[in-house]
Amino acid sequence: MKINNVILRTVTKISVFIILTLAVYLFFAGHNSPGGGFIAGLVLAAAFVLLFLVYDMDTIRKGIPIDFKKIAAFGAFLAVGTGFGAFVFDVPFLTQSFDYFEVPFFGEVELSTVTIFEAGVSFAVVGVVITIILSISEDV
């Protein structure tokens, strides 16, 4: 069955980018103000789910040819991996550090290791949520 839903498709094309931008904003707002990797991951997943709903699954699979299970595993790898960094620097497991750097154009920027951890969390959440939703939808 082919549903030709022009309005939904047109709105989605624009709103997906708004949702993705919001996800990026939430991600970088994290660890100091409301936001963070988990929520950003959920919002990212919401954008993908919207695409899967509006277009059919084959189109999106072709457009984004990645295995979301691997994405989840990669995220977990990144998050646990930051913990293992502690062995290299001889500090307690999961220690985080941050510093301020002068970056041209952006000015003073705070860079912290917790961002890597949060990125791992985001990947894990996106991977898990999409995997769950896709496997449920394949069942029906």
Binding site: K70, A73, A76, G83, A86, P92
Partner: protein, 491 residues
């Protein structure tokens, strides 16, 4: 830096994640898993040795000082169990290599075994009660996956019960933690203990402790074991052996930890209830063990008897009884895994599940038969095998404390264990053989190796009891004097 104590949990997690990427390469997965487990065993043995010289080690995650941060605390009791759990996992995997089948191996089997071990080791090592909940969940999530792998009808039915029971008990766990946090405002176990000993164990705290007791009773199968025989006989042999060896032991460990470190001020209430529950578990487990003819059921009821027996040690709470409980925990992890492996193999080679449908196995598989005989003696507590020293010490403790009823129940249950397994031995191993030598399923080398290793371990624990004595005595000493643990954590 004490980072080493996170390794028994972090290493399996990391390896489990890496193995997801290596899904098609089963040989590589096996090699990585074995190497990772050997490394885990090595580090935990090193830690155990280190604790004897330097006392309890702790690690504050991210450098957050207790009681504010999450921490791992490695004392002898925890690390002994971590070591034995890792060894048992390795041996069960050696069995799995030649029995589980490519179809299951390809479904992230090794990843989830690693996650299961990470959850088990994390539960042993953590010093924070909410972190304990998280580790329990890691362990349970992995076990949910492992119990359904294969997707047989019985597995799906039993896993549904298993998941529902565990979700309910996890919910109770959360509620109990919330009660505790509302009253004390801390989650660090040592800090909780300090606050309770300062303010006294109020009736409300005692009620909270009983909620914890219900949770751990459900998880360890103390009286609330109705879910256990079904779920433990559903999965493939190697997985059932892992479950039988490890999962209930985590519940027992946590119960011992919580009721010696935190809620030890009202033993006439809490420990009396534990004693009653342990006694009832022994009685009902013994009845169950001789009531069935399905060998998987008999073996599962043997797990329940052991739970009751170990918690007799907690109920009487003397130095000897706790030492006995620690010895018996070590012994039971090994012996129960071996028993599950042997029972599963009997079903594999005969294709029968009832003991009266098998006969004369010892003619076909002599070594296999004698190992069954040895594990039976060990579980019954015959010296010089590993079950003996635990039983003697628990009995000695019960006599000192004057708990003669528990003493009688504990030792009568040993006779029931012996009878239930002897029945299997007489019916299935003796008599006329039903398998002709032509169509006998050859015993694979991996199976014999894993049985042999576990049997050797039972002899080591039994004959080498003297060698393990300082470690076990230190474990029991820390359990009996919570101040040692508290000082190590809060300084």
């Amino acid at each position: 830096m004490n980072n080493i104590i996170v390794l028994p949990m972090a290493l399996p997690i990391m390896l489990g994640i890496i193995l997801i990427f290596l899904r098609p390469y089963i040989k590589t997965q096996r090699v990585i898993t074995v190497l990772g487990l050997l490394a885990t065993i090595g580090t935990s043995m090193y830690m155990l040795h280190w604790i004897q010289t330097d006392g309890i080690i702790r690690l504050d995650f991210g450098g957050w000082e207790p009681p504010f941060g999450i921490l791992f605390v490695a004392d002898s009791f925890a690390v002994i169990l971590v070591t034995v759990a890792s060894i048992v996992t390795l041996i069960c995997l050696i069995y799995a290599f030649s029995s589980i089948g490519e179809k299951i191996e390809n479904m992230y089997f090794y990843s989830f075994v690693n996650f299961l071990l990470a959850g088990v080791n994390g539960s042993f090592l953590t010093g924070d009660i909410f972190n304990l909940y998280v580790n329990f969940e890691i362990m349970l999530l992995a076990s949910y996956v492992l119990i359904v792998l294969g997707g047989k009808r019985m597995q799906l039915r039993e896993s549904l019960k298993y998941v529902v029971i565990n979700i309910i008990s996890s919910w109770f766990f959360l509620v109990a933690i919330a009660y505790l946090y509302a009253q004390l405002g801390t989650l660090n176990m040592a800090h909780i203990s300090v606050l309770i000993s300062e303010s006294g164990q109020t009736p409300l705290l005692t009620v909270t402790s009983l909620v914890f007791l219900i949770v751990f009773a459900l998880k360890s199968g103390l009286l609330l074991y109705f879910w256990l025989p079904g779920s433990y006989s559903a999965p493939p042999t190697a997985i059932a052996a892992l479950f039988g060896g490890l999962l209930t032991k985590v519940g027992i460990y946590v119960m011992i930890r919580v009721f010696t470190l935190i809620f030890y001020h009202e033993p006439q209430i809490t420990h009396t209830i534990i004693g009653i529950l342990a006694g009832l578990t022994l009685v009902m487990g013994s009845i169950g063990a001789i009531a069935y003819k399905d060998i998987r059921q008999i073996v599962a009821y043997n797990v329940i008897i052991a739970v009751g027996f170990i918690l007799v040690g907690l109920a009487v709470m003397t130095q000897e009884a706790l030492e006995g409980a620690v010895y018996y925990l070590m012994h039971d992890m090994v012996a129960k895994s071996l028993l599950f492996l042997l029972a599963g193999t009997m079903i594999t080679v005969t294709g029968e599940k009832r003991l009266d449908n098998m006969s004369g196995l010892i003619r076909n598989y002599p070594a296999f038969g004698w190992m069954f005989f040895i594990v039976m003696l060990s579980l019954a507590g015959v010296p010089p095998l590993s079950g003996f020293i635990g039983k003697v010490l628990v009995g000695q403790g019960a006599i000192e404390a004057g708990s003669y009823v528990l003493l009688a129940l504990a030792f009568i249950s040993s006779i029931f264990v012996l009878y239930s397994l002897l029945r299997i031995f007489l019916n299935s191993f003796w008599g006329e053989t039903i398998i002709s030598f032509d169509d006998e399923v050859p015993m694979k080398r991996g199976w014999i190796v894993s049985f042999g290793l576990l049997t050797a371990l039972m002899f080591t624990f039994g004959i080498g009891a003297e060698y393990f004595a300082p470690y076990v005595a230190d474990a029991a000493n820390t359990l009996l004097n919570p101040q040692i643990y508290i000082d190590a954590v809060l300084e």
